[in-house]
């Protein structure tokens, strides 16, 4: 097994949590974000699709959902920046008896709101939402979604039938949005007891009915913290904005080389600003023309600008997957993304210029950013 290096973040540092197909890595920098040191690999050999940082109530807790092809997956946490990890005797995220389901992959871990400091959510494959109310010790299936009458008609996308996005409305603790490939976005207004599809205006090019109530292959959805009505959605073909919490969606693919893509991030302070990485078609799924470009809008999708400084512009057949992009909470905002070819890029100026933070990692499937 490889030698594992560790980082020692201090208060105010920026931490990147990078999940790959063969383990997890940490990257640490001070607030200047000019130089980075790497820790890892943690869980070598396991795919890590989900990571999270929980800084509520003075915690410095890392979460990861490593999944071994042989031995399955579970949630593990670290309170010392990866030097030691919990390894629960019993798998902590598992389907209850009677559901007839078995966990295939943990796709998302989200700490709850600041007002509920011991709550966490977890999205998994097969598509389901789990919740913990004791800071991640015990987890239970949210049965309102699991028992949704439309669930038997959800179909898996290329990545499996995964619940990959969990959006906790910052203004209303009862409101949650989730996204499933390929079922679309679902909304609850009562804390998860009842759910309804929320895909009006989102296309499903792969179905005879192009605008079904549900069944869209939504790749990623983001929501503004300042203006929770504002959301952006990257679809399997289609780039959308909503100004009513996803009740309706408007096509905003204005000036992008392709409206196909996976990842998406929204500015932590500016609801009009978001980043995407367009991909060339759902067949090739690589940077158009071999030019690695991140597109940014500052006018809520009325226009998008390709950001290229510091990014390879020849023979860069890169792909960024749905959780492969993240932003930090600093000003100016740092933007980060990892590619399937194992490169990690970062920008400390909102995408104006980029630096390669790492090369030669295993295929990157998840990037999260936090301030310690």
């Amino acid at each position: 097994m490889p030698e594992i290096r560790h980082v020692s973040p201090r208060d105010g540092d920026v931490l990147l949590l990078v999940g790959t197909m063969k383990g997890a890595f940490l990257f640490r920098s001070d607030a200047g974000r000019g130089t980075w040191e790497m820790g890892g690999p943690y869980f070598p050999g396991s795919a890590v699709y989900a990571m999270a940082y929980d800084g509520r109530e003075g915690r410095h807790r890392l979460w990861a959902g490593p999944h071994s092809m042989h031995w399955g997956g579970l949630l593990r946490s670290s309170d010392d920046f990866g030097q030691s990890w919990t390894n629960p005797e019993e798998a902590n995220v598992k389907f209850p008896e009677g559901t007839g389901a078995a966990l295939k992959q943990i796709w998302q871990i989200i700490p709850g709101r600041d007002s509920e400091p011991d709550r966490l959510y977890c999205g998994v494959e097969p598509a389901a939402l789990f919740v913990s109310d004791d800071a991640g010790g015990a987890w239970s299936l949210m049965e309102g979604l699991w028992n949704h009458p439309q669930r038997p008609r959800w179909n898996p996308g290329g990545g499996g039938l995964c619940l990959h996005t969990i959006l906790l409305d910052p203004a209303d603790p009862e409101r949650i949005r989730i996204a499933v490939s390929a079922a679309g976005m679902y909304a609850t207004e009562d804390g998860g007891s009842t759910w309804r599809p929320s895909n009006h205006g989102v296309r499903a090019d792969f179905l005879p009915d192009k605008y079904p109530e549900f069944g869209q292959c939504v790749h990623k959805v983001v929501q503004s913290r300042q203006r929770p009505e504002r959301m952006f959605l990257q679809n399997h073909w289609g780039l959308y904005r909503s100004d009513d919490r996803g009740e309706s969606w408007t096509d905003v693919a204005n000036g992008v080389p392709s409206d196909f893509g996976f990842c998406m991030a929204i500015h932590p302070q500016d609801p009009d600003c978001a980043w995407i990485m367009p991909l060339e078609s759902d067949q090739f799924r690589c940077a158009p023309e071999g030019r690695l470009r991140i597109y940014r809008t500052r006018d809520a999708g009325a226009s998008w600008q390709g950001m290229t400084e510091g990014l390879p512009q020849t023979d860069a057949y890169e792909t960024v997957l749905r959780d492969g992009m993240a932003v930090d909470p600093l000003s100016p905002t740092g933007v980060y993304f990892g590619t399937r070819s194992g490169k990690l890029f970062g920008s400390a100026d909102e995408g104006e210029s980029w630096s390669e933070l790492a090369d030669g990692l295993p295929p990157v499937v998840s990037v999260k950013a936090a301030r310690v």
Binding site: G45, S68, M69, H70, W71, G72, L74, N87, P88, E89, E90, A91, K94, F95, E97, G100, A101, A102, L103
Partner: protein, 96 residues
């Protein structure tokens, strides 16, 4: 009746560091792999969820051999064990 489990490297830290775990069965008659595994879970509870899914099935990329025979070809978890059986738990040849 005595059985020996051979624990693969990645699971040994969950089995007290042991490469072999010997379990004793009170009944003197032959039992099944499923019954034998229950004795292993009693001795090393953390091994269970790494070998079985929550549906109680052996994980798809894990193989269990009883005296050299893969239980997938011998009745699965109902396959018989005998006094002195050696039961290997092994990761399948898979990955990328």
């Amino acid at each position: 009746m005595s059985l020996v489990f051979m624990i693969p490297g990645p699971l040994r830290e969950l089995a007290g560091g042991c490469a072999e775990v010997r379990v004793e069965r009170v009944e003197d008659t032959a039992g099944s792999v499923s019954e034998a595994l229950s004795l292993l879970w009693a001795a090393c509870p953390a091994v269970r969820d790494r070998v079985l899914t929550e549906l109680g099935e052996v994980r798809p990329h894990v193989n269990v051999f009883v005296d050299g025979q893969n239980i997938r070809d011998a009745g699965g978890l109902a396959a018989p064990v005998r006094d002195g059986s050696e039961i290997y738990i092994l990761p399948a040849v898979s990955g990328g």
